[in-house]
């Protein structure tokens, strides 16, 4: 298998407490991190370097997640925190500043995710109060808020937007017309469910699907990027140690079938798709990151065990995990 994963940059964040998220921007040149020390930091990491660009203070609790907006809107970063707030930060004249604060949740905001840029600036936020809010920028510094109450009883842990795919293929689209996107996102929560939400024609969000397979909290959901295939794919991971790959082939988008990627021995916290949607990175509570790929016969195979410190590959561990399955 060889050296599949090699560390090319180690960033000492100087955070004073646990790091909870680290996200690169659209180009892979800037790194945003957030921590229990209540701060959000931005680093320029080009060419293996690490230059602290911003140390953003404003949250009053641990910051769980950060999310970069598409660069067409400028340099914008959203963060969410245990302090029940979502803060949108923006770079103006080279300085990062808070540009908006959303405090419409009654409990910890656990996840933020920007909608595909095609829709405009829309941020979905999932909270432990069970609600999901959708912030839409309407201009002049104004954000319109829509809220889905009781989206997940006792808490929403993750939100992830479906890629912007026009129903039917791109070729069939009548020229010059506004593509009729259907906005969708997935959420996972403490009700052990993944729920799929769809924006109705009247602009209201309706639950479209309930995906049920996990037997414990759904910790993360990740809708796979579109690679031009008609299949939609979602990865989910849970407190129960299971990672499922959900696929939907039918045009109506309503028949989802789960496939167990693996049952880990510990909680699985995070799943992330590669940009080309062929590799899934799975982060487990045992502090292990594994990479998974679908083989030709449709089985998910662990291709690498990311050992962060050394960046080496341990094939034996990978095999061992498969045997466990």
């Amino acid at each position: 298998m060889g050296n599949m994963v090699s560390v090319i940059n180690t960033v000492d964040t100087s955070h004073e407490d646990m790091i909870h998220d680290a996200q690169m921007d659209y180009y892979g040149t800037r790194l945003a991190t957030c921590s229990s020390d209540r701060s959000v930091k931005i680093f320029d990491v080009r060419n293996g370097g690490q230059i602290l660009i911003a140390d953003l203070r404003g949250h009053e609790g641990p910051v769980w997640q950060v999310a970069w907006a598409h660069p067409m809107y400028g340099n914008i970063l959203a963060s969410c925190s245990y302090d029940r707030k979502v803060i949108i930060w923006k770079e103006e004249n080279g300085t990062w500043e808070k540009t908006h604060e959303h405090s419409g949740h009654d409990s910890s905001v656990n996840s933020v995710c920007w909608a595909p840029h095609d829709y405009g600036l829309i941020l979905a936020c999932g909270s432990s109060d069970g609600a999901i809010s959708l912030l839409t920028y309407t201009g002049e510094g104004q954000w319109e808020v829509k809220k889905i109450n009781n989206a997940h009883a006792i808490g929403c842990n993750a939100v992830s937007w479906a890629p912007a795919v026009v129903p039917g293929s791109l070729i069939d689209q009548p020229s010059g017309q506004k593509p009729s996107y259907i906005k969708k996102f997935a959420s996972g929560g403490c009700d052990n469910l993944i729920r799929l939400w769809k924006e109705e024609e009247d602009g209201q969000w309706k639950e479209e699907q309930k995906l049920e397979a996990h037997s414990d909290w759904v910790r993360d959901v990740a809708w796979a990027p579109s690679i031009g295939l008609p299949t939609s794919t979602i990865a989910s991971c849970s407190q129960d140690g299971r990672v499922f790959i959900w696929t939907c082939d039918d045009a109506s988008g309503n028949t989802w079938s789960p496939k167990l990627l693996h049952k880990f021995s510990d909680v699985v916290w995070h799943v992330s798709w590669s940009i080309t949607a062929n590799i899934l990175a799975v982060s487990g509570g045992d502090n292990k990151v594994t990479l998974w790929k679908e083989s030709v016969d449709g089985q998910w195979v662990c291709i690498s065990d990311v050992n962060k410190g050394q960046g080496s590959v341990s094939a034996s561990v990978a095999e061992g995990q498969q045997n466990e399955q």
């Binding site: 892979g28 067409m72 409990s107 201009g139 791109l170 403490c190 982060s283 790929k293």
Partner: protein
């Protein structure tokens, strides 16, 4: 936030953590009789269904029990029962009894639910705990210092942990250690706690603060630290929780004094050791951090005391509390609003009062004005400290370029005294998973750089696993070889040499036949048919003579006479002949004579696709060649079986139609795997190179599908970290939005300097740069309408591009906004511009040569409805189409039967190429009647098909094979206006065709008003050739304006329709300093002409002479850039010295360094001249 409630005065036990779904068991409490003083008791099981927003808990089963309970626990120990509910319910009763229930049987409704019971204890059993390491072990405590250890496997005989403590006291609490399995603790209201070691079978330590006020109501071990435990006191005078560490057992480590009155119960979260619940007689439920003493959360409760509190083992945020007002409430400590609760209360009220008129007053009650305003959103504030279970400790996220960002927080056990500084690192890793893919991609890149296409193709042929793969690579390879059409024919099984031999024989036969008979002959005017013909001939009545011949089935005579009778008669006669002739190959002959290859391609049996392709390869003019190949490919794709469908790829390769190749290949192959994409891209890249080399332009046209595939490919490369390679493969001369976006992303990912204090440069932003052009700029038509204002009105800087854009452009109008044509930045649409797939563009790859040399002039039709269409050179797409159209209509053939089978092409077809008439004798079945071809005017006077024949046309691919192609398109390259409709619709529809041509007609741009011809290069010749049977006299060979210019994009017909100016416009003189260029070049052409022997070369030269007019016009207009002009002078100087090799080198240099659109019109011509001069040695 309260989640659920059950109206019971009961003890409670959650199902074990393993169990899903979550159940809550309740057993009627022995402590307190409810208001009815009923002595009924029951054991019930409820399901915690959080997806149900109501406050009600779903009751699963009720078992009427004869016992009331002091303690109820649910152990995970697996009895032999089946069912989804696991474990065992263990109840402590009033009379010293311990009862084991099978919860699965309770849920199933069984009557026999008791597994076992034992009444060994004296007095009520208030304390029970399951050993978490050995779940079959249960400890119980009762009065008189009684402690028993029960083995569920052997329930009859309990053990004791050691001798009873003295004096005898009630055991109120008992707990197994969470770290060490043989350690047990017990506590009593007297305030003492005892720790037992079961291995030693004795108490090892006694814990007491000697205050005599600790009345232990609760005992719990630290979930993580083996030596720590907490004790709670229910004494109102000392309502505290004491934290003890057995290593310092003299006094409590910490005392939590958060309750005002005695504490009735505590529960320590197993999920987070910093969360300890306590409830007391002050009616509070508190969540504190026992390690600091801080109160983290106070649950919103009613005013009743709670006597039992439990964490849900499975859902760490959930807890339940049983209160003396007869209710068990389930809470989340994560906060949230309590809308559900209110709703339930309202429901209850209205259901109790019924109809809102409970007293029958006839007046409904006014609407309820309950707490909603009184408690305006008073959600319980969440825990001050986030619970451990929501603190994500690990994460790995992919980012662009195949990078994986990971972080970790390895917990270091804080050691006493030693402050260990933890460093918080983020790692950026490169993930490479597709080594083979990268290797092949690298190989391909090298081939492109080294131009070693032929050997690459050969390697691919050798390595081919399938015949089809081999064919594809063979076809691709041919593109780089001389005489590609001939080679194609060979690949199809038609060797030119063989054909040649046959022709020689044929010619010999003809020469024997042709010499006119000497001597006298008799002119008979008898009454028989001969006589009648003679009479008609004598009177000059060719028509009648031909009719008579036809009538008498003397076809050869008829045709010969018709020739003498003129074009019109010949045409008529041919028609009549074809109508009469029923032979199998008539249709082929018809097609050959009428030059209606479309007929063949359209109606041949698809089993004969090879033959049809061979015919096209043999006969089709360069400009229609690719269209015909395309057409055949399209038919194969849409009509043929799956086997034939893939063969369409070969047709598209012949046509040089990359876009269609992509479409066809994609259909046949699974393109999702990187290697299968690599398979496709290899072919596509090679084909594009071929097209580039042979046609000197248009290879850069990137269709929607190709753009899709190429960006997919580049994305894959990028995802493997090969950003430079991704950039190299990404077509660089296209406005396909996905490619433009990806290019920008790749460039920036590569580490291009950060914009620093400027706003970022993105392709999106480019849209807002109107570059001084008035009018709105087409933006994102998809943009939501809401973004109509500036993003940061207060800022001095321009707002981010996305926002600015939408100030002017609403989604409905954006798409129609005309973009200034040729404006590069406006075309960099970041969105996949929805483009109908336009077959028209396929022709841009066509072999039609003239298009290749047309200057790429931006044409600005204000009426164009598709300003953003990124396709290049629509003009180049017309030749094939107009030819087909013209042919179809002029030939006026009867509608072809689609099912008619098509015979293999006649070998006689080659006669056109070689200028010799005749049919091969060897294949008589397909042979043309010798006279037919032999007497065609085209055969001798007007060797049209010969002159334009694929092998010998001056723009024949091999001849221009090595036109160096500038790799990069200039930044300011301006594509002309697009094709507005799929070409296929137009083939039979002259009207729409004209409409379509209207905007694209290359009207001379105002900057060059004096160029009437170059923009219609050779418009006529093919038109003329196409109508050899028409009324017009065959144009003389030397007539220059109809001579030699191949690839006419637009036929005469349309020129007239459009009333384009065809009259001469006086031209400016060429500036003196450049006059030398003209004289040198013309002189060279003349020299070549005088020493050239074969007509092909002469023709080429004639044509070149004419086509260099474009250059002269540019000189006149002084529009040439100085570098090119000086380069041309260098060439002229090398011509003077007859150093043509040097001239060619300079030529290559100019072409490779100059603006493509500026030189494409004349540089290839110049190369032809130089090459000829070198060859002829003039």
């Amino acid at each position: 936030m309260k989640l659920k409630e059950v109206d019971r005065t009961a003890m409670q036990a959650w199902s074990p953590a393993q169990n899903h779904p979550i159940y809550l068991a309740t057993g009627t409490s022995a402590q307190q009789l409810d208001a009815t003083f009923s002595t009924n008791a029951s054991l019930e099981i409820f399901e915690l269904d959080l997806s149900d927003p109501s406050l009600d808990m779903k009751s699963c089963a009720t078992f009427s029990s004869s016992h009331r309970y002091h303690k109820l626990i649910w152990g995970p120990y697996k009895t032999d029962s089946k069912g989804e509910v696991s474990g065992v319910l263990i109840a402590g009763g009033e009379n010293g009894n311990i009862i084991l229930y099978d919860p699965s049987k309770i849920i199933a409704g069984d009557k026999e639910v008791v597994i076992a019971q034992n009444e060994k204890h004296t007095g009520p059993v208030r304390a029970l705990d399951v050993n978490i390491f050995q779940t079959n072990l249960v400890a119980s405590g009762a009065n008189e210092s009684e402690i028993y250890i029960w083995d569920l496997n052997n329930f009859a005989t309990p053990m004791t942990p050691g001798a009873k403590t003295q004096p005898p006291e009630d055991i109120s609490c008992i707990a197994w250690n969470r770290q060490v399995q043989h350690i047990l603790a017990s506590a009593s209201p007297s305030g003492r706690a005892t720790v037992w070691d079961l291995r030693k079978n004795e108490p090892i330590i006694k814990v007491s603060d000697h205050s005599n006020r600790m009345h232990c109501s609760g005992l719990a071990w630290h979930p993580d630290i083996a030596t720590q435990m907490v004790l709670a006191s229910e004494d109102d005078r000392l309502p505290v929780v004491q934290m003890w560490d057995l290593r310092f057992a003299s006094s409590p480590l910490r005392v939590l004094e958060n309750h005002a009155r005695g504490i009735l119960a505590i529960a320590w979260s197993m999920a987070d050791p910093e969360l300890l619940l306590s409830c007391g007689k002050d009616a509070k439920i508190l969540c504190s951090n026992p390690n600091t003493g801080e109160v983290l959360y106070e649950l919103p409760t009613n005013t009743q005391w709670c006597f039992d509190i439990q964490w849900c083992p499975r859902n760490p945020a959930v807890l339940s509390a049983a209160s003396f007002d007869g209710r068990i409430s389930v809470y989340s400590i994560m906060g949230g609003s309590a809308d559900g609760l209110r709703q339930k209360q309202v429901d209850k009220l209205s259901s109790s009062f019924g109809n809102l008129d409970p007293f029958g007053t006839g007046q409904p009650l006014p609407p309820l004005q309950i707490p909603q305003q009184a408690t305006p959103r008073s959600p319980g504030l969440p825990l001050k400290k986030p619970p451990k279970w929501i603190r994500r400790p690990v994460g790995a996220s992919f980012s662009f370029g195949g990078k994986l960002v990971t972080f970790e927080n390895i917990r270091i056990q804080p050691l006493q005294g030693a402050e260990q500084q933890q460093q918080y690192h983020v790692f950026v890793s490169q993930v490479v998973t597709e080594k083979e893919f990268l290797r092949r991609s690298d190989q391909l890149q090298q081939v492109v750089q080294s131009q070693g296409f032929i050997s690459y193709c050969q390697k691919k042929i050798d390595a081919s696993q399938t015949e089809f793969e081999k064919n594809v690579w063979s076809f691709l390879k041919v593109n780089f070889e001389d005489n590609s059409r001939g080679k194609y024919l060979e690949l199809l099984g038609y060797r030119k040499e063989d054909l040649g031999k046959k022709h020689i024989k044929e010619e010999k036969q003809e020469s024997e036949f042709l010499p006119p008979a000497a001597g006298t002959f008799n002119i008979s005017i008898s009454g028989d048919i001969d006589g009648l013909i003679t009479q008609a001939l004598l009177t000059g009545n060719f028509e009648s003579a031909v009719d008579l011949c036809l009538h008498d089935n003397r076809m050869a005579d008829a045709i010969i006479l018709a020739i003498a009778g003129g074009q019109e008669l010949l045409a008529q006669t041919q028609k009549k002949y074809f109508a009469k002739s029923q032979s199998k190959i008539t249709r082929l002959i018809t097609a050959v004579v009428m030059k209606n290859w479309k007929e063949i391609v359209e109606s041949c049996d698809l089993k004969n696709w090879r033959e049809a392709l061979a015919a096209v390869l043999t006969y089709a003019k360069p400009d229609e060649f690719s269209a015909l190949c395309d057409l055949l490919g399209t038919r194969l794709e849409s009509e043929g079986d799956s086997l034939l469908q893939t063969q369409a790829c070969l047709c598209y390769i012949c046509a040089g139609n990359v876009e269609k190749l992509v479409a066809c290949w994609t259909k046949a192959q699974d393109g999702s795997h990187p290697l299968s994409l690599q398979d496709l891209i290899e072919k596509v890249v090679i084909l594009r190179k071929a097209v580039q080399l042979t046609q000197a332009m248009d290879a850069n046209t990137v269709g929607v599908l190709l753009a899709e595939k190429m960006s997919q490919y580049a994305n894959l490369l990028a995802a493997q970290g090969s950003i430079a390679a991704a950039l190299a493969f990404l077509p660089d001369n296209t406005n396909q939005p996905n490619i433009v976006q990806l290019r920008e992303r790749l460039c920036r990912a590569q580490g291009e300097p950060m914009p620093g204090h400027e706003s970022p440069k993105t392709p999106y932003e480019k849209q807002q740069l109107p570059k001084g052009r008035p009018g709105p700029v087409a933006g994102h038509p998809q943009m939501p309408r809401v973004h109509t204002q500036q993003y940061y009105p207060q800022g001095e800087n321009p707002p981010p591009p996305g926002f600015l854009l939408r100030e002017n452009v609403t989604p409905s109008t954006a798409a129609q906004q005309p973009t200034p044509p040729g404006h590069m930045h406006t075309q960099g649409l970041p969105y996949p511009q929805p483009q109908p797939y336009q077959p028209a563009q396929q022709y841009s790859f066509g072999a039609g040569g003239s298009a290749a040399y047309r200057p790429q002039q931006p044409v600005a039709p204000p009426s164009s409805a598709y300003p953003n269409n990124p396709y290049l050179s629509p003009a180049s797409s017309y030749p094939g189409q107009s030819q087909l159209y013209a042919a179809q209509h002029q030939a006026s053939l009867p509608a072809p039967s689609p099912t008619a089978s098509f015979p293999p092409p006649p070998s006689s077809g080659a006669s056109f190429q070689h200028g010799g008439p005749g049919a091969p004798p060897s294949s008589s079945a397909y042979a043309l009647p010798p006279g037919t071809t032999g007497t065609l005017p085209a055969g001798s006077e007007l060797p049209a098909s010969q002159r334009t024949g694929p092998q010998n046309g001056w723009n024949d691919p091999p001849a221009l094979n090595r036109v160096p192609k500038k790799k990069k398109m200039p930044e300011n390259f301006m594509p002309p206006i697009p094709i507005t409709a799929p070409i296929m619709n137009l083939l039979g529809d002259p009207q729409s065709q004209m409409l379509q041509q209207q905007p694209s007609a290359p009207a001379p741009p105002s900057s060059q008003p004096s160029l009437p011809q170059p923009h219609l290069p050779g418009g006529q010749p093919f038109h003329s050739i196409q109508q050899p049977l028409g009324p017009a006299v065959p144009p003389p060979f030397s007539k220059p304006n109809i001579e030699g210019a191949p690839g006419a994009p637009i036929g005469n017909t349309f020129q007239h329709v459009q009333s384009l100016p065809t009259e001469k416009i006086t031209k400016k003189p060429i500036p003196d300093e450049h006059l030398i260029l003209k004289t040198t070049f013309e002189d060279l052409i003349q020299r070549c002409l005088s020493s050239a022997t074969d007509p092909q070369t002469k023709r080429k030269l004639d044509d070149a002479s004419k086509r260099l007019e474009v250059l002269y016009d540019k000189l006149r207009e002084q529009t040439l850039s100085p570098t090119i002009a000086s380069g041309l002078h260098n060439i002229a100087r090398s011509i003077e010295t007859r150093n043509y090799s040097e001239g060619l080198t300079i030529h290559t240099h100019i072409v490779s360094t100059s603006n493509f659109s500026e030189t494409s019109a004349f540089m290839p011509v110049l190369k032809v001249v130089l090459t000829q001069a070198k060859k002829l040695g003039v």
